[in-house]
Symmetry: C2
DNA sequence: TATTAATAATAGTATTACTATTAATCAAAA
DNA sequence: TTTTGATTAATAGTAATACTATTATTAATA
């Protein structure tokens, strides 16, 4: 198979493809750093422009607003995760091993070696945990969804569904369990970091804890 | 036992107790309606003031900002849910029946008859589904949490934990499963309404679907 | 070299979030 | 009853944010 490791995100998300110019690439790279530092609410195009010595208007030529920029970043992440799910799990022996590896992919930050883009993967993972739900928990979700901009998330969910169904074809809720796995990975990681009383995590090994919890949840759900 | 059905929310959340004046009560009531209509991002104090024929500054005398106002509304909801969990489940025969009723409380909008405040319960439930995660998924979560303003959520979570532990004392993740139940109720209801491909819900009976899914998840997790 | 096209920077505006100050109301003390 | 003090709300702002129209600059092509 011939494939290139670049994830083309839906054209509707940007005004101008950030991958097409050096400035565009720098905007996305610096945006990931700054959203991680400030949080999405405090992140503005003006601050980003100052940070990278360009102008606000130049950034607006690539993205309509910061919400679309976040959506672009998350689309990249979801596409990349789908890629990992497809190609990293394929060689594994059985559906149990595949599902276990899947949980590790969802809970552990991406490794720096994986992928080609020089985005900070640690930061990206933290952004996914803290900010991802903000792209769909909005009044405009219907109009946004019409441009298929959530397709990478749905595709990832569909892939996980396939794994679930191949492990237990009789299971009634493969899609819901998939999205629950993804969302719960995020919420439990966030809670274990910031509101630990909402979890059973200890002071350390929070990632391991969440992985253990999700595996328990997943395999018990899929028991015959 | 002597109790009154008014949920005193943490004083740190407001500048002036909205329950203490007629204007304060009207502000909260109208805020619920307007957040539901506009979504939290588009909701502003200026719009709320115009809606109810008062001034922006008057609202600022009660709440520092709209984030605190949302926190106030959610605290009221979480306290009310804990009340329902304690007093509605208590008469039920066994832990299985209690957990089943719990899932129904989490997934179904509050009934208008329940509680005393004349908040729109349908709107409130929809706000909880769509907006609740926005109060903790922020950079300032640590400072916010220091004032114990998430205590009602943690208390609710602790109550559910007790139910879980009484059903299966050996279960390893009672708190995480509790928060997962709450969060998943919200995310699956949202997805079934707006991004149905992320679920296995059909065109109708979405609430029933989510309840069925959560019960399956819960009881399989708690199997010995 | 002149012309056109692409790109970025300047300089705005409208809205939002928030606050300092002033005005109005009301209750208690003189 | 009037005066004072305290509480409350409204006016009129400011700083920051989100976004855009226009101008300037650079690069490509005729």
């Amino acid at each position: 198979m011939d494939y290139s490791l670049s994830f083309k995100v839906n054209e509707k998300i940007y005004l101008r493809d950030p991958e097409s110019t050096e400035l565009g690439k720098q905007i996305v790279k610096n945006a990931i750093d700054l959203i991680h530092t400030l949080g999405f609410e405090h992140f503005t195009f003006k601050k980003l422009a100052k940070e990278m010595n360009t102008t606000e208007a130049s950034i607006y030529r690539y993205f309509e607003n910061k919400h679309r920029m976040l959506l672009y970043i998350l689309n990249w992440y979801w596409s990349y995760m789908e890629y990992l799910v497809v190609f990293q799990l394929q060689p594994l022996a059985n559906s149990k091993a595949k599902l276990e590896r899947l949980v590790e992919l969802l809970t552990h930050p991406l490794e720096e070696s994986e992928g080609q883009a020089d985005y900070n993967k640690q930061f990206l993972h933290q952004i996914v945990i803290t900010e991802s739900s903000k792209v769909y928990l909005v009044k405009e979700v219907k109009e946004i969804n019409e441009n298929a901009v959530f397709k990478p998330y749905k595709d990832l969910c569909a892939r996980i569904s396939e794994l679930i169904q191949s492990h237990n074809p009789a299971y009634e809720f493969p899609h819901s369990l998939s999205s629950t796995l993804i969302e719960t990975a995020h919420s439990q990681l966030f809670f274990s970091q910031h509101l630990p009383k909402l979890t059973d995590a200890g002071k350390k090994n929070k990632t391991e804890f969440v992985a253990r919890y999700l595996k328990d949840l997943l395999f018990k759900s899929l028991q015959a």
